[in-house]
Structure formats: C-alpha cells, structure tokens
C-alpha cells in the first residue's frame, strides 16, 4: 500500500468481497483512504479484484471468530497502522426456515459469524480505535426485532444491537459505536441463506442506494439508524467530501 497521505483515513471493512461491503470499500478507497478489506474467499490479485491499490485484502473466516480477530489485528500491525478511524463490521450469514428445522450446526455458524466474530474483532481493534477516537459501525438488520422464518439470524442481529447500545455508552469519549439496520437489499445474501424471494425482490432496495444511505449514516455518526426508503432517498442528496467519512 502507498505511503500514508495527509488526511487519508484507515478503514477496516469486513465481508467486503460482495454486496454492500464491497461498495463501501470501493467508495472509501476512491476517496483516497486506505481500506483493509476482509472476506472468506482467497483473492490472488487484490488490485485487479478491487480496481485500486488502496484496498488491501485478507482472508478472515468468521466461522472461527478468534482466528479472524487475531488475523485482523496482526494485519493492521503489519500495515503499520497505529490507529483506526473507522471499522465497518458488515460480514454476516443467514439461514431461513422454520425454527424446528434449523440444524444445530447452522445455529452455531450464524452466532459465530454474525455475533461472536464482530464482538471479538471490536475487542481486537479497540486500542487502534481509541488512538484515532474513531468509529465502530456494526451492520445489523431490520430483522433485529424478530422474524419467525429466520429466528436465529434475527437473534444475532438483536444481539449486535444490544451490544452496540451498551458499548456506545461504555466507550463514550473514547470511540463512537454505531449500529445501522438495512432493510432487505438486492444482494446475494438471501440466495446464500437459502431463501427464494421471487417477486418480493422488486420491493427490495437497490444495493447502490442502500450503500449511499449507509455512507450517509456513517458520516453522521448517529448511534442507531434504520435504513428506510425515505432515508435512502434523502441520502441521494447528501454531499460526501474527500479524505473524510
């Protein structure tokens, strides 16, 4: 990665090979920031994959939360990062079906990837965030209020919500903690969770618009935000500066 430019921020984004995470990573890199991106797949040529030399990619499989957190911490140290301005913990996995049909392995996997991993990653990057008085942004879901057909997924997102709420208060004055709940978005998430969406897909938010809305919310630093259509619409008209969130 290039030398540190004045004003450029250090940003961590998990689950950045696809969907919203990929869009956020590219957005920040295009504006001159340095991005550490994580995912499960192995990528041989970071620059060709992301189309920029400002994104460094590492494999961090959140199925093993402890290993993922350690890998991220080590990578930041190797990159020479002393501080972290923004961590967007976005990686997640889902499973859809009746509660009684949910295999125990799937329950475990969702809790590991969606809840334990972000918690352990937050813990690992805490000193870096404090250094920059940075921001921890957790990506939740509007399902966090409960959903009969993906009960465990909803539970993990409710866990993130509660975690953010208490940690925001605990870290007050040292680092900001934020949780953003996007609604259904046209990404590969649902297909991966084994859901057949059909025509409902027409009512889902486009990923570009959802990403813009998330960016706006991150910029505001607000503690909690649900991405509604009205909010996403307003986000289209909000400015975004270079070298800043």
């Amino acid at each position: 990665m290039a030398q540190q430019d004045a004003g450029a921020l250090n940003i961590l984004i998990t689950g950045a090979t696809d969907g919203l995470g990929l869009r956020l990573a590219k957005f920040y890199a295009e504006r001159g920031n340095f991005v550490l991106a994580t995912g499960r797949q192995s990528i041989t040529d970071d620059e060709a994959f992301f189309g920029t030399d400002r994104i460094r990619y590492i494999v961090a499989d959140q199925d093993n939360p402890n290993a993922a957190a350690e890998t991220i911490r080590l990578s930041m140290t190797r990159l020479g990062w002393k501080s972290l301005d923004l961590a967007v913990l976005n990686a997640a996995t889902g499973w859809s079906g009746a509660p009684g049909d949910e295999p125990s392995a799937t329950v475990e996997k969702q809790i590991a990837v969606n809840l334990t991993a972000p918690i352990l990653i937050a813990r690992a990057v805490a000193p870096f965030l404090f250094e920059a008085e940075g921001q921890l942004t957790l990506i939740g879901s509007t399902a966090h209020r409960g959903a009969p057909m993906f009960a465990t997924y909803a539970a993990t997102k409710a866990g993130l919500h509660g975690f953010a709420r208490s940690l925001a208060e605990e870290w007050r004055g040292r680092a900001r903690v934020q949780i953003i709940h996007p609604g259904p978005t046209r990404t590969t998430m649902h297909a991966k969770a084994g859901m057949k969406i059909g025509m409902a897909r027409l009512f889902f938010m486009g990923p570009k618009r959802a990403a813009r809305a998330i960016l706006k919310s991150i910029r505001s630093g607000e503690k909690t935000r649900t991405i509604t259509r009205a909010y996403a619409w307003r986000a289209l008209f909000s400015p975004s500066g270079r070298g800043s969130l």
């Binding site: 009746a98 352990l120 009969p148 709420r165 208490s166 605990e170």
Partner: protein, 253 residues
C-alpha cells in the same frame, strides 16, 4: 407434569426446581454441578433426575439431547446463564466465547431441537430467562446484554410458529437477583437487600407459566424500570453507566 430445567443447581434454577418438586412434578434437572442436586434427588425419591451437562460445550449439549431423547415435556425452563462484567476490551476473548455459548448457543440449540423432535406437547410452555438489561442496556457487560437481547428476540421470533403447535413461549426479564452469581458481578457497595430473592422470582415465573403471559417483568422494580426505559431509553442507559459501569473495580468473568 414433566419438566426440563437447565442451570438447576444454584440460584434461580435451584429455587424453581425445589418449588416444582414440592408441587409433585418430575424434574429433569440439568447442571454442570450435579453434586448439589444429589440430596434433592434422594429426598424427592427420584422425582428429581439430575443430568450432568456443561452448556459451554457443544458435545455436552449433544449428550443432554441424547439423554432426554424420547421424552416429552410440559414445561421447559432454559435458565442456565453466566456473565462477564468489567471493561469490554480487557476481558479475554475466551470468556466471551464461553458467555455466548452458555447464554445463547445452548438455549437456541436446545429449543430448536425440542421443537424439531416434537418433544414439546400441546399446551406446554417454553420459558427463556432474559434480563432487565433488555430494557435498559448494560454498560460494563455489553456482551452479556447482547446475549440476553438475542435470546429475547429469538423467543419473540418462534412464538408464532410454536403457537400453531399450541406451545406457549414465555420470556422473563428479571432485574438483579439475590444469588451468588449476582454478588460476584455487582459493583462494590451494592446492597443485596435491593435484589429480588430467587424464591419470590421463582413464584412469579411459575405463576406466569400458568397464564397466557408472553413477557414477564417480575416485581414492581422491574416493571417500573421497564416503564421508564420505554419513556427515556437513552437516559436509562446513561444511568446504568453511572450506577454500574463507573463503580466496577474489577473485571469478573
């Protein structure tokens, strides 16, 4: 009535187990410390069946499921829980993994297996023990709060699908309880007399299981706190920081 209860040896679980046995029910009492249940098993002439299982371990939960295979239950209380209090970033990762395994992975796994294997009969009740922190947040125990919020929402999510099988779901949101567990995690100088006795809480819970109640904030203190949190949630979380987090001297996990 046939009952399954986890975390049965101490605290609230113990009080529930003793009450249920006194009422003449058969209780499958699960704990990682079953020695504490031996006397109860003898005294109850076998009505209390201790089962050794550590909710932190996946294989142990699997063994529990094998041991109770073929049984059906009228009442299941997923009560086992632990905590971790102190400065979030100073508590070891392993303590958080254990906390999430016991408070979240185990109850969800057990619940989904009981449902999938038709071990909950019609008119039975599935009880989850969440926490009053669901209403007010818990700075100084953000991961504990996360597990209890997650559990509450899991319970809410499965309520409708279970209603079709005529199985009721009750979620309990107790405030501080007068147990050794609470003693360890409370800030220095906190008064034990202000905590609810496990016996009284057990009575509240068992009474609620006989009604159609979905959520129980037991006692006036919990009900009042929930009311205030509904009006001013952010203020209440700030208060929790002041009365708990700022007074915690040690990390306890």
């Amino acid at each position: 009535m046939k009952v399954l209860i986890t975390g049965a040896s101490h605290g609230l679980g113990r009080a529930l187990t003793e009450k249920l046995l006194a009422e003449g029910h058969d209780v499958f009492a699960v704990d990682r410390d079953t020695d504490a249940l031996d006397a109860l098993a003898v005294k109850s002439r076998g009505a209390c069946k201790p089962i050794l299982a550590d909710m932190a371990l996946g294989q142990s939960v699997e063994r529990l499921m094998r041991e109770i295979a073929g049984h059906t239950f009228d009442l299941v209380i997923l009560n086992a829980g632990i905590s971790a209090t102190g400065k979030f970033e100073e508590i070891p990762a392993a303590a958080y993994q254990r906390l999430i395994a016991v408070n979240l992975t185990a109850p969800i796994t057990i619940a989904s297996r009981l449902i999938g294997e038709n071990m909950l009969v019609a008119k039975s009740k599935l009880v989850f023990i969440s926490s009053l922190s669901h209403a007010v947040g818990y700075p100084g125990a953000s991961v504990y709060a996360a597990t209890k919020d997650a559990l509450a929402v899991y319970a809410r999510s499965i309520r409708k699908p279970l209603a079709k099988k005529r199985v009721g779901v009750l979620t309990v949101f107790p405030g501080p309880i007068r147990t050794q567990h609470a003693e360890r995690h409370a800030p220095a100088g906190a008064k034990a007399s202000k905590r609810m006795s496990p016996d009284i809480l057990a009575r509240h819970i068992l009474k609620a299981t006989r009604t159609r109640k979905k959520e129980l904030y037991p006692g006036t203190q919990a009900a009042f706190t929930k009311l205030l949190a509904g009006i001013a949630p952010n203020f209440m979380t700030k208060m929790m920081r002041r009365v708990i987090f700022e007074k915690l001297d040690d990390n306890v996990y």
